[in-house]
Point group: none
Amino acid sequence: MVRNEMSECSSHIPLYSKIRDELRAHIFAGDTRPHEKMPSESELITKYGVSRITVRQALSELEKEGLLFKVAGKGSYVSKVKPFQGLGRLQGFAEAMSSHGYEVYNRVLSINLLSASPEIAKRLSLPEGSLISEIRRVRFLNREPVSVDVSYISSHIGERLVREDLGVRDIFHILENDYAISLGYADLTIDASLADTQQAELLQVDSGSPLLRVERLTHTLEGLPLVIEYLHYHADNFQLRLKIER
Amino acid sequence: MVRNEMSECSSHIPLYSKIRDELRAHIFAGDTRPHEKMPSESELITKYGVSRITVRQALSELEKEGLLFKVAGKGSYVSKVKPFQGLGRLQGFAEAMSSHGYEVYNRVLSINLLSASPEIAKRLSLPEGSLISEIRRVRFLNREPVSVDVSYISSHIGERLVREDLGVRDIFHILENDYAISLGYADLTIDASLADTQQAELLQVDSGSPLLRVERLTHTLEGLPLVIEYLHYHADNFQLRLKIER
DNA sequence: TACCATTACTTGTTATGACAAGTTATAAAC
DNA sequence: GTTTATAACTTGTCATAACAAGTAATGGTA
């Protein structure tokens, strides 16, 4: 068959990924709501003028991402998804989410310079009363707030971070690429809490809603504690996932 | 083309799933070690006598499972399994806690035989409506209730479990030592919820208290889903901890 | 020897075709 | 009217085919 018209574009982007991204955008935009039926394969074939194997690959990837599920003999349906962050590797929030096609944005609430509390100082192996930077942010996924994030890092690094664009970039990304600080591992402590008034307002939920609370202490490649974060996720909209070996 | 010989079997198991399962068993058995090259697509085509689309589907699913990765122009390679420390290991509750000196006790609330819901059936890769056993327990740590645990397992195994002493023994322990079923890995999904009336009473907390909710799907060493559990931890008394590598 | 082109592999992408099997609405039979 | 059979959808599975593109080894040329 003759080369398809859609591939006329100078870039060599596969057709299926273009279709996949377009369908995903539709889902994120809410054009097709959860549990509603997606266009059938034959409809997509005629709409995009491609073969069945191509639309199936697009749909298959969206299914793999958890955005839709298929029922044999009926069709594909948008699933009610909770976005999730995999804990298989140490990743920043934006890093993990944008690879799944999500739009990520951080609203910086405040950046303060203060002296480390005993708790923080101990975790970061700093002398008590050391100058540290406190960064308060709200994380948005597809324009919906999903977490309130408070980070503490030595002011020596924190003062440089102030000048960075924390609205779109991960702190992890800045540390590794701009500051050449290699990250090694993180210790996570996970539990749950109830949203207080301030958290509720920031996350646009009712006060007393369940929050997934994560304390993350990230270490450099050399094993030195670098940054400690207290993350409060809106549990109705977010999950953590991991695989563990026996 | 003539129907393939592999499909002569009375059961209507797809060819790709047969190939997928066989390759996965090879990987888990260590026949092909991490970073070693898997057979190429053409080798698998001749070996199994199927078309390329079929072996690609098998390989694609294994890639989705994280068991292998592909390099264009080179081949497929077995992924390295990242070892986890501490609570990153798949352990039964009693197994993990008693090694830390805690006194563990399980109160069995009920054991029911019922037909699998679509959700459960899908997770356990069983036909919808299959007979499964539901085991409801409350877990005690030093005589204080810490979690409500609902487990679902194929009735074929569940009916044997009824006769075991689930009050002190881990299901994991029974499966491995008494039934000789080797466990491989588990997929965990973590979020938070609020205690409903029943959960609150069982955990002796106020209704509406924050609960850490964990869904754990445990697989055999061969990679087949075995048991799915819904664990609700009393968040004030329990935390999950893990270490993540960059 | 160093470099480059060819070649022979690999996976990636896509088309076309076919039949199986699950679902649903319609029409025919009772 | 109720049931049943059929038709018309849907997704699932699989074969064959072709070309693109990435990788590596081989060989020939400068």
